[in-house]
């Protein structure tokens, strides 16, 4: 226990300490650097999990499923902090942020990291719930950080809808406990994963069903599934871009991860209703967020809707179930968070270069800022699911495995994807090609994070390390 205890304390402790420090420390350069360093240390700790996993304690657990996500989260957290360092610098210059808020921003960033890591490693459904609520509240505060009318409005909307979601999720959690209590007995065990999963077959199916409905809606709100998605586009559009990246790239994943955990329980319990149809339906509904892409004028809001679409695809995949589809879902989660955050990095720089988020005021980006422009093109190509990038593989697996089992669903899915692709490239043409519009100053920023993500996605589209594959396949089995 003690030998393997270190990584987790790193993953959870470093952010807390950093947050405490960042609240105290002044100065933009120092805090930004500290932020990067802290996230980097967290990343190191997380990576060390690959080599030694701690034994599951009643509160903390590391297994095949969350191990990958912890590393992913910390990694994206690290790259985002690098990106945010240059981004926030510019925001300070143009005075959108005051140093006071900046300090607050960095502290919150670390708290958010802590909350998400906690949600991932929690072995207790109550703790997980608390962690996700914490993550929500911090992001609410960060979305509203610009104090503009739109920002406050977005934050408020996010807050209200998020709180309702949290409430529903809590009710679901309680119901799960109620279902577990007769079998496992009162007390902590009845809320502990490692115990729940082993005994879930004996739970009361009806209770589990109700529980799952509430959890689906509660955590689904965080995932941004339609029709619970309303908060997502505005929160992405109005908050600072690093937060948009973290939201799309990580928070949605964390919520979905929670959902998967509970799906496992139902998968074990044969008497309970199959969660598949529910998830498939919500997935398809969300998929048609693709239609919303056509009328978007704000570049960040557009990519937010694309996140909804992709969450729909992922939920659809898990809903279909089966080793292939589940594998595809897990892969899609990973790839999407990498790609989408990369896109938001690009978008952040673009918005700073152009001084606006209105697509109408951008154009010819590949002429004026080749690196940025082509980076965005590559990102959109990736998010549109075109090979040879990672998302294509997952979409390939989803569609082919579905079509053999439920042709009509697959056809609907395909049309949804196609509509999304069409919309994305319609906008991309306006942004990246054609006559240059708007200011064309070169962005003074490091493109390393963006291209690091895209490189990973590219590699994954062609070659996947066997270890990762093994974990995913293992989890895919558990997911039923």
């Amino acid at each position: 226990m003690t030998g393997a205890f270190d990584p987790l304390t790193g993953v959870l402790g470093v952010p807390v300490l950093a947050a405490a420090l960042l609240v105290a420390l002044p100065g933009y350069r120092l805090t930004a650097t500290l932020n990067v360093v802290a996230t980097f240390l967290t990343l190191l700790a997380a990576i060390s999990l690959f080599f030694g996993r701690p034994q599951p304690s009643p509160y903390l657990l590391v297994d095949d499923l969350n191990n990958v996500f912890i590393v992913l989260t910390t990694f994206v957290g690290f790259t985002t902090s690098v990106f945010s360092a240059s981004y926030i610098g510019h925001e300070l210059e143009i005075g959108r942020l005051t140093p006071r808020f900046l300090r607050f921003y960095h502290a919150m960033y670390q708290v958010l990291m802590f909350a998400m890591n906690l949600a991932l490693v929690a072995n207790n459904i109550g703790v997980m719930w608390v962690a996700i609520e914490l993550a929500t509240l911090t992001t609410v505060l960060m979305v509203g950080i610009y104090r503009t009318h739109e920002a406050l409005e977005a934050a408020w909307k996010y807050f209200i809808l998020g709180s309702v979601g949290i409430a529903l999720a809590l009710f679901g959690t309680i119901l799960v406990y109620m279902a577990a209590r007769p079998v496992i007995g009162e007390g902590l065990d009845a809320m502990t994963w490692s115990v729940l999963v082993t005994r879930a077959d004996a739970f009361d199916p009806a209770l589990l069903n109700v529980a799952f409905v509430f959890l689906l809606l509660g955590y689904g709100t965080k995932v941004g599934l339609a029709p619970l998605h309303a908060w997502l586009p505005d929160a992405h559009a109005e908050g600072p871009t690093p937060i948009s990246a973290v939201l799309s790239g990580l928070l949605l994943n964390v919520a979905l991860y929670a959902l998967l955990r509970f799906k496992m329980l139902l998968a074990v319990n044969t008497a309970a209703l199959a969660p598949g149809p529910l998830m498939v339906t919500m997935g398809l509904v969300s998929l048609f967020a693709a239609f919303m892409l056509y009328r978007r004028r704000d570049i960040k809001r557009m990519f937010a809707y694309s996140s909804i679409e992709h969450m729909g695809i992922i939920t659809f995949a898990f809903g279909m179930g089966g080793p292939l589809a589940n594998f595809a879902g897990l892969l899609h989660m990973t790839m999407h968070s990498l790609t989408k955050s990369a896109i938001f990095f690009a978008v952040g720089h673009i918005a700073q270069v152009k001084g606006t988020q209105r697509i109408a005021d951008m154009g010819g980006l590949t002429e004026t800022n080749p690196v940025l422009g082509w980076g965005l093109v590559l990102g959109v190509v990736a998010i549109a699911g075109l090979p040879p990038l990672g998302i294509f593989m997952s979409e390939f697996l989803v569609v082919t495995s579905t079509f053999a089992r439920a042709p009509w669903l697959a056809i609907v899915l395909v049309f949804g994807i196609l509509i999304g692709v069409a919309a994305l490239f319609l906008r991309l043409n306006a942004i990246a090609f054609g006559e240059p519009r708007g200011p064309t100053a070169e962005a003074k920023a490091s493109y390393v994070p963006m291209f690091a993500h895209l490189a990973l996605v590219f590699v994954a589209g062609i070659y996947m390390p066997p270890a990762l594959v093994a974990w995913f396949q293992n989890v895919a089995k558990l997911l039923g």
Binding site: L278, M292, A384, F396, V421
Partner: protein, 669 residues
């Protein structure tokens, strides 16, 4: 062997990466295109060796890439070898052409990196032996060519061209995705080897065939899925246009052949009718569209549509014969189709090279602004003329051979037992003949208006002969047109293993026949000898010339043209492309394009010039695509209101969802 081919592809990709780094360097052009040329030649050698069955080393390989538990399978069988030969031949010529042509490229950064990637994509597609690798390389090919189409994104409506292209490409890919989904089955046997094993039910086979037709057809440019092609092909730089039109469409044909003839068992016969009918319609529609064009490159692109139609007629016949177990006839039809694949890749590339040369020399694609180029650029004119004659299926060039074989295959169709085909095939034959005749008319127009007559613009009058690399590329392909025309037997025999593998029979061996003539079935039935025809024509022409110049006069005097006595110096009185096409437009256009002519004739004494305007409508677009676009727009508008609800309304959405799900639970059995 296959590993060597893959290594070549890897070299191409490396070249692309290299080009990304030093695209602005002065010598980058030479470096990149030179490398591509070399690699393409190596690939060609490999392909030929494999095709002639004298290759060393394994013909299949599996790399630990792609889907982890499956790996990436590659295989170089006869079919793959033939198409690899087509691809690498076109690639080699295009690279050679580009060595000179690339000098005029305004934005090398947007071309050099993607060109080798494009070549690599096409190479890997034909080598792929599992669904995932196939689709990845297939879409990679589309993607890199999309980037090339967008190279001149600020010119005209190239952006729209690229957009339509990308959407149609994704559409096709998704259709193929579904095809493979059906072929692979629920437990994902994505390797082609596994697919060959499975025997799908009749309904399943039918849907597979239809999906494959949609997927491959949209890339090949089958009507009505052709809309992107005449937009995208001309938009790209000319050597890329040549590749897209001459080679990429063939890769699409490869996809169709691979799926339908190789992976799929034998579908019910009536699905061959679909292929046949589509082929016939495509052939005629394509050439009619082409006749209405004044943009040289767009005209050529539409002709690609026509030739794809001819190829699919051949494939449809082969399918019909195969499903009726007439392997020998299927062999003839399939050989015809594949031979046309090769021929078209040759002369279409040649023609696009010519168009590119004209474009660089005059800066004009619009034929109405050309004319008289035969005086300024004689060599280009000659090569282009050969290409025109070949694509118009004139003996003794290669285009005629494949169409002749197709006719021979059609003449076998009375043997088919099923009624539908009995009625369909002659009609398709008529369509084929019609398209051939119209193609000739169209290329009289293309060559006559842009190369003959008098220059219509100063640009055309100032044109200069193009560089020697381009000429080398053009003349080598012109020579190939002639060779393939006069000794087709060699090529037919080379195709034998492919056909044998796909339909289980082959055409009779041609190499034995005396005088190098070709005999599809039996000497008494039909035979053709391009060589003799060529020799005869040369002899008799030379004889006539000699006799007249010796025995009669050889005097010659230059004078102003006679023109019935009232010559007019102004080139404006020349026949334009539009006026040349007018009779045919009157005959066909009124029906097919709702062609309308508005004549604005000023009253006597009014000095205003008279104007005639022609209005054409693309019914395919109006009927098929416009409604879809409108539908999406409508849905987008409707759903867009969701963005503007109040928080309370959103909450009520959540509430409704919750209640709904609880109700579901309540009534759950």
């Amino acid at each position: 062997m296959v590993l060597l081919a893959l290594a070549c592809a890897a070299v191409l990709i490396a070249t692309a990466a290299l080009a990304l780094l030093l695209a602005d360097a002065a010598r980058a052009r030479v470096l990149v295109y030179g490398a591509c040329l070399a690699v393409a030649l190596v690939l060609l050698l490999i392909a030929l060796l494999a095709l002639l069955g004298v290759s060393r080393g394994p013909l299949a390989a599996t790399l630990p890439l792609g889907i982890p538990w499956l790996g990436a399978h590659f295989r170089l069988d006869a079919l793959a070898a033939f198409f690899l030969a087509v691809v690498s031949l076109g690639a080699a010529a295009a690279s050679l052409f580009a060595l000179g042509y690339g000098r005029h490229e305004p934005a090398p950064r947007r071309v050099l990196p993607f060109y080798p990637a494009f070549l690599a994509g096409m190479t890997i597609v034909v080598l792929a032996d599992d669904a995932f690798t196939f689709l990845v390389s297939w879409e990679f090919m589309s993607l890199s060519s999309w980037a090339l189409v967008m190279a001149h994104h600020r010119v005209g409506d190239n952006i729209r061209a690229g957009y339509v292209y990308l959407i149609m490409a994704s559409f096709g890919t998704l259709a193929l995705l579904l095809t493979f989904g059906l072929l692979a089955g629920p437990d994902g046997g994505y390797a082609f080897a596994d697919m060959r094993g499975g025997h799908p039910s009749a309904a399943l086979a039918a849907s597979i065939l239809v999906l494959a037709l949609i997927g491959a057809g949209s890339k090949a440019g089958l009507v009505p899925l052709h809309v992107w092609l005449p937009l995208a092909h001309p938009a790209a730089p000319s050597h890329v246009s040549a590749l897209m039109s001459g080679v990429m469409t063939k890769v699409a044909v490869y996809g169709f052949v691979r799926i339908v003839f190789d992976l799929l068992g034998t579908p019910a016969w009536w699905w061959s009718m679909l292929v046949l009918a589509l082929g016939g319609v495509t052939a005629v529609m394509g050439v009619l569209y082409a006749l209405m064009q004044h943009d040289l490159k767009r005209l050529l692109a539409y002709h690609t549509v026509e030739n794809i139609g001819i190829i699919f007629i051949g494939l449809g016949l082969a399918l019909a014969f195969k499903t009726h177990g007439m392997a020998w006839a299927a062999a003839l039809a399939l050989t015809a189709a594949l031979l046309h694949v090769f021929n078209h890749s040759v002369f279409k590339s040649l023609l696009f090279f010519g168009a590119g040369a004209v474009l660089t020399a005059t800066g004009e694609r619009d034929m109405e602004h050309l004319g008289g180029l035969i005086h300024r650029m004689p060599q280009t004119a000659f090569a282009f003329l050969v290409g025109c004659a070949a694509i118009s299926a004139l003996p003794p060039l290669n285009g005629f051979v494949s169409e002749w074989l197709t006719f021979q295959a059609i003449l076998l169709s009375p043997e088919l037992p099923s009624w539908g085909l009995k009625f369909l095939v002659p009609a398709v034959g008529a369509l084929l003949a019609l398209s051939a005749a119209l193609a000739a008319a169209c290329f009289v127009k293309a060559f006559g208006v842009s190369f003959l007559g008098r220059a219509r613009t100063p640009a055309a009058a100032r044109a200069q002969e193009t560089d020697r690399f381009s000429l080398a590329a053009m003349f080598s392909f012109a020579a190939l047109c002639l060779i393939a025309g006069i000794v087709p037997g060699v090529f037919i025999d080379a195709l034998a293993p492919v056909v044998q593998a796909l339909v289980g029979d082959r055409m009779p061996v041609q190499s034995g026949v005396e005088w190098l003539s070709i005999v599809p079935i039996a000497e008494s039935r039909s035979s053709y000898n391009g060589l003799l025809v060529f020799v005869f024509m040369v002899l008799s022409g030379a004889l006539a010339a000699w006799a007249i110049h010796r025995l009669a006069s050889d005097r010659l005097r230059r004078a102003p043209p006679w023109d019935c006595g009232y010559p007019d110096a102004s080139p404006a009185t020349e026949y334009t492309a539009a006026s040349f096409a007018q009779p045919i437009r009157r005959v066909f256009g009124t029906v097919v394009f709702h062609a309308r002519e508005h004549v604005d004739m000023p009253r006597p004494g009014d000095s205003r010039p008279a104007r005639i305007t022609v209005e054409l409508r693309d019914l395919v677009w109006d009927v098929l695509y416009a409604p879809i676009a409108d539908g999406v727009a409508y849905a987008a508008d409707r759903l867009n209101h969701l963005q503007f609800l109040t928080i309370r309304q959103f909450l009520s959405l959540v509430f409704a969802a919750l209640v709904l799900l609880l109700l579901v639970l309540a009534i759950w059995p």
